[in-house]
C-alpha cells in the first residue's frame, strides 16, 4: 500500500473512533440514572476499546524504521539455563557477570558491546549476533559495533546483511583498512568484482598491505583485466612468498594461455594459507575469549598461520589461568618447536606426558626432537610408547624402523618397516630402507622388489634407483655364476 494513502486511512480511522466515543457520551446524558449506570459501564468498555485501538494506531503510525530500531535494540541474552551449563568455570562466570551488569544497571555502549564480544569470542554465534544488533540499534553512530556486527553476520551466513552493515560502517569511519579488505572479499563472493576492486583499492590506499593487493589482483582477474593483475602480482611476489600470490600468478598465466608459465608458478604453491592482515578490532574482540576450548582453537590457528609469538602469549595466559593441562603443554612444545627452541619444547613435552602418559602426539614429537639430536635411544623409547598406545599409526612404525636401523637393530627395523607397509604402503622411503636391510642380508630378489616399489611411488628416488641397479647386477652375477658353475 502506498505510504500516503496508508497514513490517510489511519488518520481517518482515528478520527472516526473519537467521533463514535463522543456520540455515545452525548446519548448517555439523554437517558435516566439506571440506564446511565448501565451505559456508563458500556461506555467505559467502548472507551477502553477505543483507547486501545488508538494506541494501536499510534504504534501503527510510528515510522517503520523507529519500530525496527526499538525491536532491534532489544536482544535475547543467553538463558541462565545455558549459562549455568557452561562447563568452563572462568567462561561461565565471565558471561554471567557481563550479562548481569547489562541487565541490572549499565546499558552503556561499552557494557553491551563487551557482552556481545564475549559471546562472539566464545562461540555463542546467534546470541552474539543479537547482542551486536542491539548495540548497533542503541548506538548507531559507533563504528566498532557496526563493524563487528558485520563480521558476525557474515560468519553466520548472512552475507547480504553483512555487506549492508559494512557499508553503513564505512559512513562512520572510512579509514579502517581491514573493513575494505573484508568488504572486497565479500563482494567477490557476491559476484561483484568491480565493486570488490574499488574496496580493495581503497584498502591498498589505506596501507592494508599484500592482502589488499592480492584482493585487487583477484578482482582484476575476475574482470579479465589480466595486465593489471599481473602488474600487482609481480610486485607482491617481490615482497612476500605467500602461496596465494603465486597461485594467482599461475591462474593469470593459465588464463592467458601460457600453461608452462602457469605450472612454473604452481611449483611455489605447496600449501594453502589465508592471507593475514591487521585487524585491531577483531583482536580486541578475541581478548574476550575465556575457557580453554575456544582459546586452544585460536592457538591452533595462530600456529597454523605461523604467528608463534602470539600463540606463546595466548598459551602463557591459558597456563596461568587454568589447571595444568597436557594439551596446553603440548601446544607450547609445538610453538617452541616451530621457533627451533628445542630445549623448551622438550621440557613442555615431558610435562605433557607427565600429565597424560598416553598422549601419543607428545611422545611422537619428543621422539622427533630426539632424532634431531641423534639421540636414537630415547627416540626409540618414545616411539615404542606410541606403537603401544596406537598400534595402527603407520608413521610411528615407520620412524621406529628408521631409528632402529640407525641403532644397528636391523631385525627390529625390518619388523617395524614391514608393519608400517602393512598399514600404509605408500611411503617410498619405507620400502627403500626395507630393501637396504634385505640387500645387506643378501636377499636381493626381495630387496629388488622393495626398491622397485619405492621407485614406482617416487619416480625420482635416486637411492632406490641405485639399489635396483645394484640388485640387478648382484642377481645377474649370481645367475652367471650359477650357470657357469657346471662348466667350471
Amino acid at each position: 500500500m502506498p505510504d500516503v494513502e496508508h497514513t490517510y486511512l489511519v488518520c481517518l480511522t482515528s478520527l472516526s473512533i473519537f467521533k463514535i466515543v463522543s456520540q455515545r457520551s452525548n446519548r448517555v446524558r439523554r437517558f435516566g440514572p439506571k440506564a446511565l449506570i448501565r451505559r456508563e459501564y458500556s461506555d467505559s468498555v467502548v472507551g477502553l476499546i477505543a483507547i486501545s485501538v488508538v494506541l494501536s494506531l499510534l504504534v501503527a503510525c510510528t515510522p517503520k524504521s523507529e519500530q525496527a530500531q526499538s525491536s532491534n535494540s532489544r536482544y535475547d541474552p543467553l538463558p541462565n539455563s545455558v549459562i549455568s551449563r557452561i562447563s568452563d568455570e572462568s567462561l561461565r562466570d565471565y558471561i554471567a557477570t557481563l550479562a548481569e551488569t547489562v541487565s541490572k544497571s549499565d546499558s552503556s555502549s561499552e557494557a553491551i558491546g563487551r557482552l556481545a564480544m564475549a559471546y562472539d569470542a566464545n562461540g555463542f554465534d546467534d546470541t552474539a549476533e543479537s547482542a551486536y544488533r542491539a548495540s548497533v540499534a542503541r548506538y548507531p553512530d559507533q563504528f566498532k559495533w557496526q563493524y563487528l556486527f558485520a563480521l558476525r553476520l557474515q560468519k553466520n551466513g548472512d552475507l547480504e546483511s553483512a555487506i549492508e552493515v559494512a557499508q553503513e560502517a564505512i559512513k562512520l569511519n572510512d579509514a579502517y583498512p581491514a573493513l575494505y579488505v573484508r568488504l572486497g572479499s565479500w563482494l567477490l563472493d557476491r559476484g561483484q568484482p568491480a565493486a570488490a576492486n574499488d574496496a580493495f583499492e581503497r584498502a591498498v590506499e589505506l596501507g592494508a598491505g599484500p592482502a589488499a593487493e592480492l584482493g585487487a589482483a583477484r578482482s582484476h582477474l575476475k574482470l579479465e583485466n589480466h595486465s593489471a593483475a599481473l602488474e600487482i602480482l609481480r610486485s607482491v611476489v617481490t615482497r612476500t612468498s605467500h602461496p596465494v600470490a603465486f597461485r594467482l600468478l599461475s591462474d593469470t598465466w593459465r588464463e592467458l594461455g601460457d600453461e608452462e608459465k602457469s605450472r612454473e608458478y604452481l611449483e611455489y604453491v605447496t600449501q594453502t594459507k589465508s592471507m593475514w592482515f591487521d585487524d585491531p578490532l577483531l583482536a580486541e574482540m578475541r581478548e574476550h575469549t575465556r575457557g580453554n576450548g575456544e582459546r586452544m582453537r585460536d592457538v591452533e590457528l595462530m600456529l597454523g598461520s605461523g604467528l608463534v609469538d602470539d600463540a606463546l602469549l595466548a598459551l602463557k595466559s591459558l597456563d596461568s589461568e587454568s589447571a595444568p593441562d597436557f594439551n596446553v603443554q603440548y601446544h607450547y612444545a609445538l610453538a617452541y618447536f616451530q621457533n627451533q627452541a628445542f630445549d623448551q619444547a622438550e621440557q613442555h613435552l615431558k610435562r605433557a606426558i607427565e600429565l597424560e602418559p598416553v598422549h601419543y602426539p607428545s611422545h611422537l614429537l619428543l621422539a622427533s626432537l630426539y632424532q634431531r639430536r641423534d639421540d636414537n635411544v630415547n627416540a626409540a623409547n618414545h616411539l615404542e610408547h606410541v606403537v603401544k598406545i596406537y598400534p595402527k599409526l603407520q608413521i610411528a612404525h615407520q620412524e621406529l624402523g628408521f631409528v632402529r636401523l640407525r641403532l644397528g637393530d636391523t631385525n627390529g627395523a625390518l619388523e617395524s618397516l614391514e608393519a608400517a607397509i602393512s598399514l600404509d604402503s605408500t611411503a617410498p622411503n619405507v620400502h627403500y630402507y626395507a630393501g637396504v636391510i634385505l640387500g645387506e642380508r643378501g636377499l636381493c630378489e626381495r630387496a629388488l622388489e622393495k626398491f622397485e616399489t619405492a621407485l614406482a611411488l617416487e619416480r625420482n628416488h635416486a637411492k632406490a634407483r641405485i639399489g635396483v641397479s645394484e640388485c640387478v647386477r648382484a642377481l645377474s652375477l649370481s645367475d652367471s655364476s650359477n650357470t657357469s658353475a657346471p662348466n667350471e
Binding site: I20, V46, R218
Partner: protein, 572 residues
Amino acid sequence: MTSLRSWFGRFNHFHPAIQLLCVLCSTLTVLSCMEEPSDTHSSPNVWFDEAASTRGLAFSHVSGASGEFHLPEITGGGVALLDVENDGDLDVYFIQSGFLHSEQPDSRRNELYLNNGDGTFRKSEQLDDHADPGYGMGVATGDYDNDGDVDIYVTNVGRNTLLQNDGTGLFMDVTTIAGVGDESWGTATSFADFDRDGFLDLYVANYLHWDPSTALDCYATNIETYCVPLHNYAAMDRVFRNNGDGTFTDRSLSAGLASAFGNGLGVVSVDVNNDGRVDVFVANDSMVNQLWINQGDFTFVNDAWYWGSAMDDHGIEKAGMGVATGDFDEDADFDVLVVNIEEQTDSYFRNEVSYFTDATGVVSLGAHSRRYTRFGLIVSDLDNDSCYDLYQANGSVYHDEEDLQKVDYFQEPNTLYRGTCDGRFELVSPEGGTAQPVIHTSRGMAIGDLDGDGSQDLVVVNKDSPASLLMNVSDQEAASSSIRFRVLNEHDRDAYNARVTAHLAQRILTKRVQTDGSYLSAHDPHVHFGIGAETELTDVTVLWEDGESELFGTFAVDGLYTLIRGNGETVK
C-alpha cells in the same frame, strides 16, 4: 481517495456498534499491513511433500552415538535409488550405520525397500541375509558383471562389501572373490569404465585413519564434540580395475593414487577435459581436492592445482562434502559443484575445458550458502522448467552450548535454490521447498522419479532419524514437462558416462548417465530433461563411452524412452 471520503460520509449513518466493529476490523487490517514481510525469497510455493511414512518408507538411521563423540557417528549414511528386480520402477537401498561396538550387530543391517509400482514401498525381508554387517557409510550402484542387473557396492568403516544381484533382487556377498574388500574407512564411491573395456571399474574414496581406542577428545567452546578431521591422518583412495571375470585388481599404486590423498568424502567420475576418458573429482574434508586426470593407461595424474579446483578462489582448502556435476552453463562440458561446511561458501567450478574458474559468486551461491553445513547435493531440474535447480541436505558436525537447547544438537534445515535460467540460483522459500521444513541432521541424498510421474523425487537420510521421502509436486500447475531416457550400451547395462545431447528449441543441453555424486549416495541412472513449455527434444544424440556417437532423433513430451546402442544412426 475520493471514493474513500464518500465512503466515510455514509459510514456516519451506521449503528455505532457496527461502526466500532468496522473500525476495529480496519485497524487490524492496517496493523497487519504494517508487519514486515516475511523472508524476501522468490517463490512461495511448495515443491515437495514429505511422504516417507505414508508411502511405507520406514527406514530410520542409527549412528550409535554414545556420547563419546566418535567421528564416524556424525558422518553416515547414504542411500541408493535403483531397480533391483528390473521391473521398471525405482527401489530404495538405505545404508545403515549402527553401533560402532558390535554388541548389536543387527543395528547395522542395511535396508531395501521395494517399489510397489506406484511410489509406495514395502520393506524387503529377503535381503536380511545379505544386508552387510559393516558400520555403513556410502554406496555405489552398477552392473559390474554385465549380466543385466544392478549390483551394489557398500563402503564401511572397515571392510567394504560388494553385493551381486541375481536379477530378482536377491543379493550375494562376493567381496572376497571380487577382491574389493578395502579395509579403510570408505566413504563415497563410484562405478565407471576408466579403461573403456566395457566393464565398470570402481573408485573408492577413503576418509582417514581412525581408531576408537586412540581417538582424541575434542571441544568446541568447552563442551566435548566431534573432532575436526585434521587430528587424524588422511587415508589413500583406492581404484579397482575390473578384470571382466567377476574379479577386480587393486591398481591404486600403479594408477598413481599414492601421489596425493586427502580426507575424501565426495566423488564423481566424469570426463572433465572432453578427451573421452573418465576422470575423477574427489572432494576432501579440510584438505585440498583432487582431480585425477585419466591418462588412458589406467594411470591418473592429480592436476587439481593447475585446474584450480584444489581450493577455492580465496586460496583456502575447504571442508568438501557432497559433489555434483552437470553442464550448468550449457557449453557442452561438465562443471562441478562442491558443498562445504558452515562459514564456507559452496564452490562452483566452472569448466573452461582445460581448467576450472571458481564462479561461485557469479551464480549467486556465494551469498547464501554459508549458513549451514551441507552434505547431500542435487543439481537437477526439479521443477521441469528446463533449468538446473539445487537442493542441499544439511546438518552440522559439531555443537556448542547454544545447541544444547535443541533436541538434535546438529540439526539444520535443508535448502532449495531455484535456477533462474540465466545461470544463477536463488533461495526458495519455504526453506527446503516443503510446507513444513525438513530439519534434521541430513546426510546422504539421492534423486529419481519414484512414482513415474515425470518429476524427480528425493530421498534423504537423516542421522538418528527417519529418512525423508520428498515427493515432487513442483510442476503440478506450471507449464512444465519432462522427457526421460534410459541409455543402454551393447551389454544392456546403463551406459555410465555416456553423454546425451539434445536440442530444446534454440538451446543445446548436455547430460550424462550418472549415478554418482551427492554424498555417499547413488542416483537413478535415467537421464532427465525438464522441457518447460516445449513439446519435444530434437536431435537427441548419444556419445558413447568409447567415443562413438549415435543420433536417435526427436522425442515427444512426457515420455520415458530407452536409447539402446546400435538402434540409432551413427554420427561421424
